[in-house]
Each structure stands twice: as structure tokens, then as C-alpha cells.
Amino acid sequence: MTTDARYRVDHHTEYVYAATTSTSQHLAYLTPRALPYQQLLWHELTIEPAPADRSSRVDYFGNAVESFTMLTPYKTLSAVSRSVVSVSGPAPLLDTSAGPSWESVRDQLRSGSPVAPLDAIEFSARSPYVDIGPEVEAFGRAAFPPGRSLLDGALELTHRIHRAFTFDPTATSVATPVSRVLAGQRGVCQDFAHVQLACFRALGLSARYVSGYLMTDPPPGQPRLIGADASHAWVSVWCPVNGWVDLDPTNDVRPGLRHITLAWGRDYDDITPLRGVVLGGGSHVLHVGVSVVPEMGEASS
């Protein structure tokens, strides 16, 4: 376990309202998941002003979700999630090229042949934020010629998305459909993840949306800036041999020691980091800041 990396993650969210709100209710998917290759050592969500009421539960997909309610009027709401995690990285892939063909995986996932586990079947179905049209199917099929192994195709698809799309935070919003992202070939990690999910599902394959963080390096010679990082998103594709295999189309890499997993779901909508319903308040300005800082000391206990 000497290769473990240990991080401290600070995720600040602040809403500033033009007028005073009367009440609001919120759901937060901000607790890193415990995984075979990721340990959650410490976590705390601090809300200011103090909520009237808060609770947590485990959702349908096994993610921790925290909820809180504000009953006292406020103009600024701040939610700070702090976590310490240790990451060992997923196991190396077996049989990348010699593994099952994508068609055989597709056939296993088909209804009426319950060979695949239900949760794999579930993630091959349509979901609200992943619209599937002929264009995205064609884009996906280019990476999956007949007979190719599932993982070769999946890595190829990751590479193709990375090559074809330009990172551009101004091009899309939370609700931009896959078809528009595909047409514009621009977007952010969340869009690329949705495009890749659409490609997989169009071909009858199963893949899920993963939200989390990525440790980035500061430019050479400069200090690490607090809040310079962002929350991140990637995908995980189901393989009968390797299980769920993570792929990061934004960076064309397989997530390893630098990726910290928060939650997974069918798409962004299932695991929005922080959502709320607010009464009153008028317009608002949102500030988000994320820092991922490597921690010194014992990596595992």
C-alpha cells in the first residue's frame, strides 16, 4: 500500500441572494464514497447559517446524501464540505484486448437473458440527462467496429472524445443536452461524460456517471492555489470480466491516484453535488471553490 495517495479536499459553495429568502431545502452529494480503492478518513459538512434541521441517508445507488432545511431567513448560504481520503487506485485491467467483444457484452445486458447483474442492466437504460440520437450512436459506433473487445473500444471512445471536443466552460450549462454538446464539440467534463454515456448506451452497453475531484498540479514554479481546482466528472463502463472500469474522457486517462470519487448515478441529475429549492430570495450569485491538496503522513491505517 505504499502507492496510496492521501488528500484533503475542501469544497466551498456559497449562494448570495439579492433579497432575503424565507425557507429553503437542500440535498448534498458531497461525501466521498468508501470503495475498495478509496478510504474516507474524515468528512464534515459545515452549513452557515446553521440549518433548522439536517439528516443523512444512503441513496438508491449507495451514495451518502446529506439533507438540510433552512427556516430562518438569510441572504447568504455557505456550505463547506471538508474530507480527507486515501486513494490506492483501481486494480489494473485484465485482458484488455482479449476480453469479451462489445457485442457479447451487449447481448448479456439484453432483457430476457438475466446473466448480467441488475445494476449493470439498469445503467444501460435511458436516463433524463443522457439523450440518445442517431448522431451520438454513429459517433460511438466508430470506436466499436464489429468484434472489437469492449475495453479496447471503450478506451478508443475515451480517446476520440478527448480529441474531438474542446474544453470550454462558456459553451454549455447544466442542462445542455447531449445532442447540442455533440454538435458544438465543446463543453466541460460533465458534458463529455454525458456524451460518452450516450455512446455506450446507444450501443446497448452499460455505463454510469461518476462525480468527484481531480488533483491538478500548479503551473511549474508556482504555489498551489486554494480553490483553483474544480469538481470533476467521468464515467464507468461495465465489463463482465473487470467489473466497473472508470474512464476520464476529459483527460483521456483511466482514473487512478489523482481521482477522488464522490458518488455515482445514471447521470448528473442523480448526484448533483448540491441542489436546493428556495422560497423567496430573488436572483442569486453562486460561488464555488474546490481545493485538492496532497497530505503528508501515513497514507493508510
Binding site: T13, T23, Q25, G112, V174, V188, P273, L274
Partner: protein, 841 residues
């Protein structure tokens, strides 16, 4: 031969003479053309069924539907308030024995579907085994992952269920559709019964048509019994999307029949995982919600962020077990047409016995066998992806081939359902009998012990013309449904096994309802003021031709002050107020006032105020007696439809007389029939505020206009406030300013006087819940005291140069606005805050 048997013979002869539709089961005739037994009984007891009598009955039914405001809102239309509900005069008749057998089979569906829901959101054995195909669940937008693992209070998922039944060519009833989310139609079925019971009262009695209401009471008892509540007085509410819902009428109807508060999402709030009703006396706990809101619109926090109709946090409160929600969330997955392909097998698994009522044979997925589309209807597999059904026999061969290709390319996307040639039922159309396709929607209501009561009746829906579609969204009509017997052998509804739980004694008044009632009072009073003002002016114009100049001056001043000229109709007629002043013939004034009567699109006219009155009343219909609503709605229909802008003056006066009569009746009904609860208090305050402002303003207009010496102006002023007769009875001479002031300003025994309104306001404001309105109450008391001082008329009360009376009347105008603002601020200010969703990346 009695009249009854002769009429029955006539009807039988008519039945034999009309054509039949081969291949379809005939609801009313045997294959040899004779009447089937229930129809023979009906013909003997229904009285005259000749063309004239049927036509007469049709008109009665149409009139009653219009007066009761029974509507079904059609999306995409611009008809506000919806289209009138279509109801045929002839009922659907089903024999008691046949229905009893059918009920046993229907209850199987209820138990089976409830068990499937419990398994799906619980152990998932059916899904794991593949008996419930995952393709019917995972891609379905109505499969709600937020509901996994929930154990609803009382253990019931499916509290109400609607099953659409159609008869095969040989008369076999088949289930063709399932409505499990928030089934609609029960209220319409009850209203249909109430209407048709008045058309054929003897037949209904003699055929022992089974009553429906006991079953709704039983549902309410079961919901109350299962509701999680520490005390013995659980609060049940009916949750509606609001007046723009297609089936709003029945929400109102059911709420009123059951005596349950009708609430919208904004009326409820969730605190500490518990649901509360926002009332004028604070938050009151809610223990059970009968919802008519689809899942998507129920909780913007967890179910669909775009919705503003729901209650944020409701799902969490339900998950925590603190509120019963009927039906449970997540049941629209049971409505998919493709479920019918596996339901018989699923039922055997969960019930251990086969369904006795067959489903419409349904093929899914569509790539396993050759499908002859000629005999099929293509429907979407999932109810979350609805499209119109496609009748195979109506497709050309190219279209059939194209559909066959689509169905084999996407085999889990569509179903092929065997075409059921609908049974043909007689309907009366302009007095003539025609045949229409029939589908009966049966209603199952939980008994709270794992089984269901079947409503002995249902909502019969008929195709429009020869179309095969019965959806309310696409036309067609409905029928009452009678379960009949030759003798009174039917079992009475079972007594409830539950210890009776009482509902709260005092009905809660949601803040939104209080605000609507407040405005109901204001618009009703304002409409009456407008109508009296218009009548007082137009009568004088009709009598005198040209008004004497001082009176004319006062009239124009007051009408303008009330905003009567500020209408687009006036501008369209190119009559500006200025021209009117100079128009010596008087026709400009007359025309502008007449034009405003029916005009309900512009501010301030009578038509506008009546339209607003109708609108706010429509939002609180469950609070009004049905008579009150009928008078009010008829007023709206007559006034806004009947008076053309160029109507002659006598016609306009007739319309105004009618309007005033209706408005007086509305006021009388409020006094005679409404419970004196908080809601009534707000309504009354609305009326007093409006009347105070009107009387004080018109007094002020005359006084500051310098017309206090003119008896014709003073008579007109008294007429405006309906006080002319009182004045004459007291004084027996032409009016003088001082005595007019006594009557209209100070006399607290005159219900039209300023001080009467102030006195009532002082009383009502003190009785409001959690009032905390000290500041405004003080102002009311100051004015009230001023009106009581004997020397008010002499002493300089307020200082300054104006007379005391003028100051008092101006003070009253300000007071009306102050009280209105104070009530709005204290009780209504959060009513219109819509929830907005926020998300972060």
C-alpha cells in the same frame, strides 16, 4: 296495457328497427333484436323514451352541467375553465350478478398490482427473477429510485386504482388499461350519478341502482385509519395541481363531498420531515394526503426540479413515515401497456391464482413472433413515453411495413395489442338513438386490510362518432353507470372495520384560501357597486334623455374615479373622457358605460370585476355552496356573453337588473349558508373594505364637487348606496346634505353606511387568528370613535381647513387601503412565493 308497458313496447320496437354493428357486442340488444334484460327493465320504468322526451332530457342535462360548471380542461385550447363535460342521458346498465362476478376479478387486479408495487420498491424478487422484465422498469421515467425501500404507512401502495374495461366481440369484459398513479374520473362518476338521478329518478329507484357515495366514505375512513397520527384526529387533505388541471372540477367535487380541505402544493410545507398546512392560524399538521398531483409534480426537491406545483421535502416526509400519501409515489410504472403482456403471469406468482378477467391480449417485446397488424393496435410499451394508439387496420400497406420494421428494430419500445371491437351502447343524440363504442372505467378503493372495494358503478366513456378513442382529451363523452337488479337483493356496503377516527372539528383555512375569499368579497362587492352605479346613471339617462349639468358633472366625476372610462373599449370607440364632457347629447357617456358592462378584458368595468369574481371563486369552489357557485357562474356567463357594446339602453338596464339580483343573492347566500369560520371572516372583511371605500369615495366626490345643494345629485348618491327608500321613509322630503350624511356616513344601523362598515371591521379584525394587527386596529377605532361622538358634526375633529365630514370620509378611504394592506402583509404575503430550484456543478 299500462302507459309504462306501452312505452317499453315502443322502445323495444325502436331497438329492433335500428341497425346493429356486426362483430361488436351489443350492450342493449340480444342478437335477435330484442332488448337485453336490464334494458327491458329500464324501458318499463324510465317513463317516456320517445325522441321529444330524450331531447328534453338532453337539454336538462346540458343545462345542469353548464350551471354546475362541470368541465374537463383540454390542453392546448384557449378555453379558460375547460370544455363542458359530455354526458349522455342514457346510463350504462350492468346486471348485479354480472357485476358481482366482475368485482371479484377486479379485486384480484388490485391485490396483484399492490403486491407488484410492494415487491418492486421492496425485495425486488420479481425483478431479480426476470418475471417483471427490467425493460419495463429501468427506462421508465416513473420508476422512482427515491422510493426504494419505503414502507408506506399502513403498508398499502395502491389506495385507489382505475381499470379500463372493454367488451370483446363475444361480450367478455377485458382489462385494457390501468391507472395507478393518481387515477381520475371518480368525481365525474359521482357527478354523473347526481345528474342522471334527476333525469330518471323512478327507474333508478325501481332498478335498485347501487349507490356510490358509501364507497367514497369507506375510502376516507380507510385513509384516516392508516394515517400516522398520535392523536385520534388525523388531518386528511386533497392535494390538487390547481384550477388549470384538466380534472380540477372533480378535485373540487370530491373535496366537497368528503368535507376534506382542497389544497395546492403552496399550501403545504415540510418541517422536520413532517407536513403542515399553512393556515391563517399558523401551521397545522397534516397526516394524510390524497393527491391528484402526478409524481413528477409532487416534490421539486427530489422528483422534478422544474415543478413549482409540489411540496419540497414531501418525499422525505413520506419516507420517514410521517404522512400517508395516496397513492404511493412511483406507481406510474404499473400503467405501461407492456405490463399487460406479463401481468397474468405476475398475478399467478403474487396471488397464487390466475386472473379471472382476461387482459387485452398484448404482444411485447415485438420481435418474437410474426404480428398481423390488421388486427392490432400499436401502443407505446412504457406509459412514460406516451403516443396516440395506432390502429393497424387504418394503415396502408407501406405504413404497415414501416411499423413492422420499427417494431422489430426496437422491440421493447412498442406493444401490439389485439384490437378490441368495442361493445356498442345506445346514446341519445338530438333525441335519436345512436350506437357508440363503450369503455367502462372501474374504481377500486383500498379497504385498508389488503383488499379492495369496487365502486358499484364507474365512469362509462363513449367514443365520439364512430371513432375508436374514448380519451377525455380527444372528445367523446361519458355515461352514468348503473349496477341494477330486479329486486332489492344487493348487499349493503360493508360496515367499516376501523374504529372511527374523527377529523378536526374546526376546518382549517389555508392562507391561500383566505386570500381568495378576501378577494371574493372585494370583487363581489365591487361588482355590486359598479352595477348600482351603472344602473343609477343609465336609469336617469333613460328617464331624462339629457342629465342636468350638475348631476352630469357629478356622474362623470364618480364614474371616472371608479375607473369606468379607462377601458380599451372606450378608446376603441374613440370616445375620450374629454369628448364625453363636451358631448351635449349625452350619448357619449351612455355608450361608454354600456360598452363597459360586458367587457371583461379591461380594468374596472363591471364585466372585468365579475370575471375576476368568477376566477377567484373558481379557486375556492370547495368553500362555496353549490348554489352559491351556480348563481355566481351563471352571472359571469350571462353578463360577459349577453350585452353587446352597442346594446340599447333598456337592454343594458335589464342586464344590470339581473346582475344586481344575482349579486344580492350571492351576498345573501354568504350570510345564510356559510359557516362563520376564519374564511368567512376574510370574505366579510373584503366586502366591508370595498363598501367602505365606495361609500366614502362617492360622498367625497359629491362634497368636494360642490354639488351638496342639488337634490337630484343627492338622490342619485342615495341610490348608489341603495339607501334612497330608507331616506324617503325617514324624511319624506327631497334630500338635504346633512340628513344624507347622517344616513350614509354616521348611521350605524344602515348596513350601507360608512360607520356600519367600520364597526364590522373593528369586530372582525379583533376575531382574526393571531391577529397582531394593533396598529391598524387603533386606526379603525379612532375613526369608529369619531363617528360615535355626538358633536362630530360641530367640532373641528381633525384640525385643518376641511370640514370634519370631508376629513372623515377621506380618512375612511385611507383606512380601507390600510386594512387591506395590513391583512395582505400579515396573512397572504407568502402565498405567491413559488419554489425555485438551484443546482451547482
Amino acid at each position: 296495457m299500462t302507459a309504462g308497458t306501452r312505452r317499453a313496447a315502443d322502445f323495444a320496437a325502436l331497438a329492433r328497427s335500428l341497425p346493429t354493428a356486426p362483430g361488436h357486442f351489443d350492450e342493449w340488444r340480444e342478437p335477435d333484436g330484442t332488448l337485453r334484460r336490464p334494458w327491458r327493465l329500464f324501458a318499463e320504468h324510465a317513463g317516456d323514451l320517445g325522441p321529444d322526451a330524450l331531447l328534453h332530457a338532453e337539454r336538462r342535462v346540458a343545462r345542469q352541467i353548464a350551471e354546475n360548471g362541470v368541465t374537463y380542461t383540454v390542453y392546448g385550447g384557449d378555453l379558460i375553465g375547460g370544455r363542458p363535460w359530455g354526458l349522455d342521458v342514457l346510463p350504462t346498465l350492468v346486471e348485479g350478478a354480472e357485476w358481482d362476478a366482475l368485482s371479484i376479478g377486479l379485486r384480484q387486479y388490485g391485490r396483484a398490482l399492490d403486491a407488484i408495487a410492494r415487491d418492486l420498491y421492496g425485495d425486488r424478487r420479481l425483478l431479480e427473477s426476470g418475471a417483471l422484465p427490467s425493460d419495463l422498469v429501468f427506462p421508465h421515467a416513473g420508476f422512482l429510485r427515491a422510493c426504494q425501500g419505503v414502507r408506506p404507512p399502513g403498508g398499502v401502495f395502491l389506495h385507489t386504482l382505475a381499470l379500463d374495461l372493454a367488451r370483446d366481440g363475444d361480450g367478455t369484459w377485458r382489462v385494457v388499461g390501468v391507472r395507478a398513479q393518481a387515477p381520475s374520473g371518480l368525481g365525474y362518476a359521482l357527478e354523473n350519478r347526481a345528474t342522471i338521478a334527476r333525469v330518471f329518478p323512478e327507474a333508478m329507484r325501481d332498478l335498485h341502482a347501487r349507490p356510490l357515495m358509501p364507497f367514497c366514505d369507506a375510502l376516507q375512513e380507510a385513509l384516516l385509519a392508516m394515517a400516522p397520527c398520535e392523536t385520534n384526529a388525523p388531518q386528511l387533505v386533497l392535494l390538487t395541481p390547481g384550477r388549470f388541471s384538466e380534472t380540477y372540477f372533480e378535485h373540487v367535487y370530491l373535496a366537497r363531498q368528503l368535507g376534506v380541505p382542497l389544497v395546492e402544493g403552496g399550501d403545504l410545507t415540510v418541517r422536520h420531515d413532517r407536513v403542515f398546512l399553512k393556515t391563517v392560524s399558523g401551521l397545522q399538521p397534516v397526516h394524510a394526503i390524497w393527491r391528484r398531483l402526478d409524481d413528477d409534480y409532487s416534490d421539486p426537491l427530489e422528483l422534478k426540479a422544474e415543478s413549482t406545483l409540489g411540496v419540497p421535502g414531501l418525499v422525505q416526509a413520506w419516507r420517514a413515515g410521517h404522512v400517508l400519501v395516496a397513492n404511493a409515489f412511483g406507481l406510474s410504472v404499473l400503467e405501461s401497456p407492456a405490463l399487460l403482456s406479463v401481468l397474468p403471469d405476475l398475478a399467478v406468482r403474487v396471488l397464487g391464482e390466475p386472473l379471472t378477467i382476461p387482459v387485452a391480449p398484448t404482444i411485447w417485446p415485438t420481435d418474437r413472433q410474426a404480428i398481423a397488424l390488421d388486427h392490432m393496435v400499436i401502443k407505446p410499451a412504457l406509459s412514460s413515453e406516451p403516443h396516440d394508439p395506432i390502429f393497424g387496420h387504418t394503415l396502408g400497406s407501406d405504413a404497415q411495413r414501416a411499423w413492422a420494421a420499427r417494431m422489430s428494430a426496437e422491440p421493447s419500445r412498442y406493444v401490439a395489442q389485439q384490437y378490441i371491437p368495442l361493445s356498442q351502447a345506445p346514446v341519445s343524440h338530438g333525441g335519436a338513438i345512436e350506437s357508440r363504442g363503450l369503455i367502462v372505467r372501474a374504481f377500486l378503493l383500498t379497504d385498508g386490510r389488503g383488499d379492495y372495494h369496487v365502486l358499484p358503478g364507474g365512469l362509462s366513456r363513449i367514443t365520439g362518432g364512430d371513432r375508436a378513442n374514448v380519451s377525455g382529451q380527444r372528445g367523446g363523452g361519458s355515461k352514468d353507470t348503473w349496477i341494477v337488479s330486479a329486486g332489492p337483493t344487493d348487499p349493503p356496503p360493508e360496515p367499516s372495520p376501523w374504529p372511527r377516527r374523527q377529523t378536526l372539528g374546526e376546518r382549517a383555512t389555508p392562507s391561500r384560501v383566505a386570500e381568495h375569499l378576501f378577494w371574493l368579497g372585494r370583487y363581489a362587492e365591487r361588482s355590486e357597486n359598479m352595477a348600482r352605479l351603472l344602473r343609477a346613471v343609465l336609469t336617469r339617462v333613460a328617464d331624462a334623455g339629457v342629465l342636468p349639468s350638475r348631476l352630469r358633472h357629478a356622474v362623470v366625476r364618480t364614474c371616472r374615479g371608479q375607473g369606468l372610462f379607462e377601458t380599451t373599449a372606450v378608446r376603441a370607440a374613440t370616445i375620450t373622457p374629454r369628448e364625453m364632457d363636451e358631448d351635449e347629447s349625452g350619448t357619449g357617456l351612455e355608450r361608454a358605460l354600456v360598452a363597459g358592462i360586458s367587457d371583461h378584458h379591461t380594468r374596472q368595468s363591471l364585466g372585468y370585476n365579475v370575471a375576476q369574481l368568477d376566477r377567484v371563486a373558481g379557486s375556492v369552489r370547495d368553500r362555496l355552496s353549490s348554489d352559491n357557485w351556480r348563481v355566481l357562474h351563471r352571472l359571469f356567463q350571462q353578463l360577459t356573453g349577453d350585452v353587446p357594446t352597442d346594446a340599447p339602453i333598456d337592454e343594458a338596464l335589464e342586464a344590470l337588473d339581473q346582475a344586481i339580483l344575482s349579486l344580492v343573492a350571492i351576498g345573501g347566500l354568504e350570510m345564510a349558508h356559510m359557516t362563520r369560520d376564519d374564511g368567512w371572516r376574510f370574505l366579510s372583511l373584503g366586502r366591508h373594505i370595498e363598501r367602505l371605500a365606495f361609500v366614502a369615495t362617492t360622498l367625497d366626490d359629491v362634497s368636494t364637487g360642490g354639488a351638496t345643494e342639488d337634490p337630484s345629485v343627492l338622490e342619485w348618491l342615495l341610490d348608489l348606496s341603495d339607501s334612497l327608500i330608507t331616506y324617503r321613509a325617514r324624511h319624506a322630503r327631497r334630500p338635504e346634505w346633512t340628513t344624507v350624511m347622517d344616513l350614509l356616513l354616521f348611521d350605524e344601523r344602515n348596513p350601507r353606511s360608512v360607520m356600519f362598515q367600520v364597526g364590522k371591521m373593528a369586530k372582525h379584525v379583533r376575531l382574526l387568528p393571531d391577529a397582531n394587527l394593533m396598529a391598524v386596529l387603533e386606526e379603525i377605532d379612532v375613526i369608529h370613535a369619531a363617528g360615535h361622538q355626538r358633536d362630530t358634526r360641530q367640532r373641528d375633529l381633525f384640525g385643518g381647513g376641511m370640514s370634519n365630514r370631508d376629513q372623515l370620509s377621506q380618512g375612511c378611504q385611507r383606512l380601507a387601503a390600510r386594512v387591506s394592506d395590513a391583512l395582505t402583509h400579515r396573512y397572504f404575503s407568502h402565498v405567491y412565493e413559488l419554489p425555485r430550484a438551484t443546482v451547482t456543478a
